[in-house]
């Protein structure tokens, strides 16, 4: 069941020129940084809604009702709203990260492809 052991499969391309290797490393570094940005941005929304609206400010928000219903707003966030927002957070993560993966896949293919001069 041990599926993958990165130690035996180092992700390096010995045929790359130093310049291309540097650009490859740079692309990977940017990928990781953007990844962290997307993740922390979405987790900030997660915390703001899941803890902020639903718990910390629940008593304050309960003074208002959700327009068109008789839900006190803080109660609504804790019992309904937060869950709906969570679904959108995962959707956003999915779309953004799949896009980012594709972008960097192409970028890295271009770097490796140019040096190797052969289709991967």
């Amino acid at each position: 069941m041990h599926i993958h052991d990165p130690q035996t499969n180092p992700v390096s391309h010995p045929t790359l020129s130093p310049d291309a290797a540097a650009r490859l490393a740079e692309s990977k570094r940017r990928y990781w940084r953007t990844n962290l940005c997307i993740m922390s941005g979405l987790l900030a929304v997660w915390a703001a809604v899941g803890f902020g609206c639903a718990i910390v400010f629940a008593d304050v928000l309960n003074a208002y009702t959700l327009p068109g219903t008789s839900y006190p707003l803080g109660f609504w966030f804790a019992h309904q709203g937060a869950i709906m927002v969570f679904v959108f957070i995962v959707l956003a993560y999915c779309v953004l990260m799949n896009g980012l993966d594709k972008k960097h896949r192409n970028e890295m293919d271009a770097i490796i492809g140019k040096v190797k001069k052969e289709p991967r």
């Binding site: 990165p6 992700v11 990781w32 718990i55 309960n62």
Partner: protein, 617 residues
């Protein structure tokens, strides 16, 4: 047809479908057995993940808990959905890239230590067992009520069914069975909720119905909102308000800590992480994560509505009724001991939060003792209080006021006088929820024992055949142990599960997160952190739940901390200890550093990151 006949038919049909699927998708090779051959489409995997995630606790107990807790019941909603966000964003993509689908395997390799692996295996087993026990208990409750058998017999039937299809179909069988189980459980949950919502408010969507006005024929006058009415009658009977937050012991700190414990605890549950391996690539894994939370949310936004409706029926329909006019559902549940009516002699039921309350549950009191209590009560009534003892005082002191919360979801359709087939459908749904989670967990327990413990620690030279044999045997032993826990439960379903989450939160979560996002953390700090986190959390839970000592406020919190929320503090302690010790100990060796680098790339950047390219498994 009676409810029992309908239930037999529904349960019979759904069980045949599950067993049929298990037979159709039975597998012989280990890859199919453990990761379903990676051929599962994202949407189907989303459904399977949802069924895996939504346990007997979500289906049976959660709405009941919310029903009695009101606003504070939101901790379960927030905890169990918010936890999925953490799993999808922080853990699953990286664990998949690491290529380790048991948490102990990841912990052992990342921290380069057999000891760390062993600690993680023990935690994983403990968490999984507690969780499975809750499912078995749920199966027992459903069987005992609807098929008129003893709860313990119900647990044994559940054990037998799970054992058959978990060993037969492996992960592939479990996946497709879970897809079927998702549909059974979501239909069973939504149909009665929609019917009740229409009946009370005229709104077909329960989430809208809860926030809408009651129909004039229900409320007497037009323009009375359900929630307002609920708050009013709750206040009259001395219960806390349904929508006002932070009542009693549930202050802001406790709500936040319990929600956080449940979130980080669920995020580390091994049976859900493994589901991210059954799809082709990371792209599909992300989509299946989205489908999963979407499918989960259908139940989770409906549960609070069911809870509100049930609360309304409970307190508005029972009070002041004489024994001869009790609804049928009440008398059937009375037989199971999950609801008890101790009358004060006026033959009128009283359900309130005060001393005059007459609704209780038997809890873990043995039948003989309960009979004695009832006889003493009758004597107390007959002698006008000069002899015998008031059972209401005894039961209240034992903390057994109010009906067992596990019955709320099952009883609500009956309260609303829905058709018999709907009530039977709910029974089948409860079983589907319990069985889907139990089977996923049993597979993980078996892989933990066969892979992490037996193969990686005890006998690295074991052959494939031996490992499979150990895996199968482990399922058998696990089912028996889970059944024993189900027959002698340490608490009711949700509480048992919540404690498992506390321990998972304090042990795994910091170790995994730091393992991925911090390259500097080495073996000694991580292991010390885990041990400190587990010890602290276990100590507090044992102290409060087993030894029945009063919860503590640690001198910094305004209120004593609920043992269900202690996992969040254990987790914080784990983070603090690990990060404080890190600068004083060696960084991980180069191989491990490379491993961490590898997960920080787009997944298909290296060819070997698929299961097909695996060296061995």
């Amino acid at each position: 047809m009676t409810i029992q006949t309908y239930t037999l038919i529904m349960v019979g049909i759904s069980f045949s479908v599950y067993l049929g699927i298990a037979w159709w998708s039975r597998v012989k090779d280990t890859r199919g057995f453990y990761v379903a051959g990676q051929g599962v489409p994202a949407v189907a995997n989303g459904m399977a993940t949802a069924a895996d995630w939504m346990s007997a606790a979500s289906f049976l107990s959660m709405a009941g808990l919310i029903s009695t807790m009101g606003y504070a019941g939101g901790v379960y909603l927030l905890g169990w959905t918010g936890g999925f966000v953490l799993l999808a964003l922080l853990l699953a993509p990286y664990l998949r890239k690491f290529g380790h689908y048991t948490v102990p395997d990841f912990v052992g390799d990342r921290y380069d230590s057999q000891f760390a692996r062993l600690v993680a295996v023990i935690c994983a087993l403990f968490v999984s067992f507690t969780y499975v026990a809750g499912q078995m208990r749920g199966v027992g409750v459903v069987f005992s009520r609807f098929l008129d058998v003893d709860i313990n017999v119900g647990v044994v039937i559940g054990m037998a069914i799970v054992f058959v299809y978990a060993t037969l179909g492996g992960m592939k069988g479990i996946t497709w069975t879970q897809v079927a189980q998702y549909w059974v459980l979501i239909t069973a949950f939504l149909v009665p909720a929609i019917a009740i919502s229409i009946k009370l408010t005229g709104e077909p969507l329960p989430s809208i119905g809860l926030g809408a006005d009651l129909l004039p024929e229900v409320a007497g006058t037009a323009g009375v909102s359900l929630l307002t009415k609920l708050n009013e009658i709750s206040a009259e009977l001395g219960f806390g308000s349904y929508t006002v937050p932070f009542v009693g012991a549930w202050d802001k700190w406790n709500v936040a800590l319990v929600a956080l414990s449940l979130m980080v605890g669920t995020a580390g549950l091994p049976h859900v992480i493994v589901r991210f391996y059954t799809v082709k690539n990371v792209r599909a894994a992300r989509w299946s994560g989205f489908w999963a939370i979407l499918f989960i949310s259908f139940l989770y936004v409906t549960a609070p509505a069911t809870a509100g409706f049930a609360r309304y029926f409970m307190i508005s329909t029972l009070n002041d009724r004489p024994a001869t006019e009790m609804p049928g559902w009440f008398t059937s549940w009375e037989k199971t001991g999950l609801i008890l009516w101790i009358d004060n002699g006026d033959d009128r039921l009283r359900f309130s939060a005060g001393k005059d309350n007459e609704i209780f549950r038997a809890g873990a009191i043995p039948a003989a003792e309960l009979g004695q209590i009832k006889m003493d009560h009758q004597r107390w009534l007959d002698t006008n209080g000069t002899a015998g003892a008031d059972a209401r005082i005894i039961l209240n002191e034992l903390g057994l006021s109010g009906p067992d919360r596990d019955i709320i979801v099952l009883a609500t359709p009956e309260m609303a006088e829905l058709a018999n087939w709907i009530i039977a459908l709910v029974a089948a749904g409860g079983l589907a929820a319990a069985l889907s989670t139990a089977s996923g967990l049993l597979l993980v327990i078996s892989s933990s024992v066969a892979h992490d413990l037996y193969f990686r620690i005890l006998r690295p030279e074991a052959s494939e055949k031996q490992r499979l044999l150990v895996g199968r045997a482990a399922i058998g032993v696990a089912v028996v142990i889970a059944g024993i826990f189900g027959i002698y439960p340490p608490g009711f379903v949700s509480e048992v599960v919540a404690f498992a989450f506390g321990l998972a939160a304090a042990s795994f979560f910091p170790a995994i997160v730091l393992g991925i996002f911090n390259k500097r953390v080495g073996t000694v700090p991580a292991v010390t952190g885990m041990i400190v986190g587990i010890t602290f959390t276990a100590w507090y839970i044992v102290r409060c739940s087993l030894m029945k000592e009063a919860p503590m406020d640690f001198g910094i919190f305004p209120m004593p901390i609920n043992p269900q929320g202690i996992g969040a503090l254990g987790m914080a302690l784990n983070f603090i200890v690990t990060l404080t010790l890190t600068p004083f100990f060696a960084a991980p060796r180069e191989g491990v550093q490379k491993m961490i680098d590898a997960v920080r790339e787009p997944e298909d950047a290296s060819e070997a990151l698929t299961i097909e390219g695996a060296p061995e498994h």
